[in-house]
């Protein structure tokens, strides 16, 4: 059995879990290559026009591997934290993909609730049926997957550089270097270190977010609002860069909440879509870093 894993959206967050799970079940993994021009173009071609770039790119990843596998993993991530929600496009992702791309192999459709171990096991039990009905094997593969996932550390926490920026935004915008045009590398080259949300305690973020009049509706909002608020209040970095994509409804809200909260703390918003030119982005990053330098001396 060949299982296809598209390297898009929350792949960056759950990759150890998914890969270990299918590997342990004896499947051969077909992981799509890093995002490239061809993937982007295919995504733009197949996906609904109005969608955001990361969703389009996900479509591109699917189309790159769909003919090589028997089962395609399209995670339907429904929830990451109790009483919080996630972008509707994640919840409807399998439907979006199978109705937009022709000649699809079988795709996983089961909802994925990352709210507790039991819920995750529900996903594993059902999805694993495609490969084996052996309960013990499923259980073992699941435990191994959880184990790997728990060791998974993402994020940056650079120390030692004179300047440091907090990098906020969805994980796929931060970690897909094709999408963000090597943002982190560019910052490093300018001598700027980066810190991301994963390196701030969950409790701190939740506490910061609870100062809002209304409890945030999305987990993503809690994380990024809490993160940036903590950074700005405690001067943990010199400024914040928020990497976002056009047509992201969640970012449109979160960015406003952050702006309102941090006052005149340096804040740069980079928005990307398939038409974004690299030169323009470079200029904006450089200008921002110049400004941070001036402020810090």
């Amino acid at each position: 059995m060949k299982v296809g894993i598209p390297k898009g959206l929350l792949y960056y967050e759950y990759q150890p879990f998914f890969q270990t799970f299918f590997e342990e079940l004896g499947a051969e993994l077909i992981v799509s290559p890093d995002t490239n021009k061809d993937i982007l173009d295919k995504g733009v071609k197949y996906c609904v026009d109005e969608a955001c770039l990361p969703v389009k790119v996900f479509h591109g990843h699917v189309s790159a591997i769909k003919d090589k596998c028997d089962l395609l993993l399209i995670p339907r991530i429904m929830q990451q934290r109790q009483r919080e929600f996630i972008c509707p496009k994640f919840c409807g992702l399998p439907e979006m993909v199978v109705n937009s791309i022709p000649d699809m192999p079988k795709a996983t459709m089961t909802p994925f609730y990352a709210t507790s171990k039991e819920k995750l096991f529900d996903w594993a039990k059902i999805t694993g049926q495609e490969i084996t009905h052996n309960k013990a094997r499923l259980q073992k593969a699941f435990e191994a997957a959880m184990e790997h996932q728990s060791k998974h550390k993402t994020g940056f926490d650079d120390k030692g550089s004179d300047l440091r920026v907090a990098l906020a935004g969805h994980p796929y915008n931060i970690y897909d270097n094709y999408l963000n045009m090597n943002l982190v590398k560019k910052l490093k080259k300018l001598g700027v270190g980066v810190i991301t949300e994963e390196h701030i305690d969950e409790d701190i973020k939740i506490k910061e977010a609870s100062k809002l009049y209304k409890r945030p509706f999305w987990s993503f909002a809690t994380n990024n609002y809490g993160f940036t608020s903590h950074i700005a209040n405690n001067g943990i970095a010199n400024g914040i860069i928020y990497i976002s994509s056009f047509a992201c409804g969640i970012d449109s809200v979160v960015i406003e909440l952050i702006k309102h909260n941090i006052g005149d703390f340096p804040f740069l918003i980079l928005k990307i879509d398939e038409h974004t030119g690299e030169a323009g982005i470079d200029t904006r990053i450089e200008a921002f870093v110049d400004m941070l330098e001036r402020r810090s001396c």
């Binding site: 409807g92 945030p216 509706f217 449109s252």
Partner: protein
């Protein structure tokens, strides 16, 4: 205290009754217009969805007319709608308005006690006793049901009317005169009278009008300005339309959702194509498309604001339904840049298509 609230279709008629009966002062914002949208867009973040911007325009117009307290709904609407209140409060404060906000949120989030307190705030200026207050609320719910009934009837019968334009005339008349009803009792009588009038509109039963179902994002299908008055346009073409998402549907859905008893039919129909609740009203949109086909409609029109997350998912699914069932579906995306000319052309082309299909089928049998 002078209360105001954002427009959403006929909601203002029910709100008027409620405040009249409670005896509290209120300001109904001027009907949503280009001016509301322009004002709203000027002050709103660019990438916010259209409903947000129009609402801001409504608030500011109402404040200019003396309102000092704004009712905002909280998480009652899933999706970005749930975040509107915080952003709108920040925004209006930043613009320097000195306002009170009453945020109506679901009891699951803020607790029933807090909800009752907040609702109590709405009626602080009221001299009514508790019984009368409760009665006022129930009357308002009745009004919203009745006005939706008037509207639905008029829109559907428009395809069959013998005298062209009669239904539209009655509907407009009904809404205009509703503003003269100064309490719940006369309002209900008034609306019932118009239902009776619509019931005796002369129909031409030989007609086989084109029937279109209007589906999509709840605000843009309900608030006529935001969809460039599509239902009025279709009425003028002699087309019967139906729309499930209405303010009364919303009220019913809100009351029934904790019991999971709401919209069983629509959920069932959506199951094959979108089995999960993903946020917004995407599942309703899918279910209604399937239902419209089964009920013998000729086509459906999906409307949503640019960037609307749940409806983008629906849009990806609808072509499949359309293909499976041989059922034409047109998608219209609206935002502040939508030009009337291009929009109308697309609607007309769609109507032409439906007409050709209909004639073709008729000539075959």
């Amino acid at each position: 205290m002078k209360i105001t609230f954002p427009h959403m279709g006929n909601v203002y008629i029910a709100a008027k009754t409620l405040f009249d009966d409670l005896g509290v002062e209120y300001v109904i914002p001027p009907q949503t217009s280009k001016a509301s949208l322009e004002l709203g867009s000027l002050h709103s973040p660019e990438e916010m969805c259209l409903p947000f911007k129009i609402m801001i325009g409504n608030y500011i117009h109402a404040i200019e007319n003396g309102a000092d307290t704004v009712i905002i709904t909280g998480s009652c609407g899933p999706c970005r709608f749930g975040e509107y209140c915080e952003l709108q409060m920040n925004l209006l404060n930043r613009l320097g308005y000195n306002l009170d906000f009453i945020v109506i949120d679901s009891p699951g989030d803020i607790g029933l006690k807090e909800l009752v307190t907040r609702l109590g705030k709405v009626s602080t200026g009221s001299m009514c006793n508790r019984m009368d207050k409760l009665k006022a609320v129930l009357t308002a719910v009745k009004v919203v049901n009745l006005i939706d009934e008037v509207e639905a009837k008029a829109r559907y019968l428009a395809g069959f009317e013998a005298n062209k334009g009669e239904c539209k005339k009655l509907l407009n008349e009904c809404k205009n005169k509703a503003m003269d009803c100064n309490n719940g009792k006369t309002m209900i009588e008034h609306l019932k009278k118009y239902i009776d009038k619509l019931n005796v509109v002369k129909l031409d039963h030989s007609k086989e009008p084109i029937k279109i179902s209007i589906i999509g994002e709840i605000y843009t299908v309900i608030e006529p300005f935001s969809n460039l008055y599509i239902e009025d346009k279709l009425m003028d073409y002699g087309i019967s339309t139906k729309r499930t998402l209405t303010p009364s549907w919303w009220v019913k859905n809100l009351v029934l959702s904790p019991t999971n008893m709401n919209q069983l039919e629509i959920k069932r129909k959506a199951k094959e194509y979108l089995p999960y609740m993903i946020g917004g009203h995407a599942r309703e949109c899918i279910g209604e498309a399937v239902l419209a086909h089964e009920e013998g409609f000729d086509g459906a029109i999906q409307i949503f604001p640019m960037g609307c997350m749940p409806e983008i998912v629906s849009k990806a699914i609808l072509p499949k339904i359309s293909k499976d069932k041989d059922f034409p579906i047109l998608t219209l995306v609206v935002d502040e840049m939508t030009g009337e000319a291009g929009y109308v052309t697309r609607i007309e082309a769609f109507v032409d298509l439906l007409e050709r299909r209909k004639n073709h089928v008729l000539s075959r049998c």
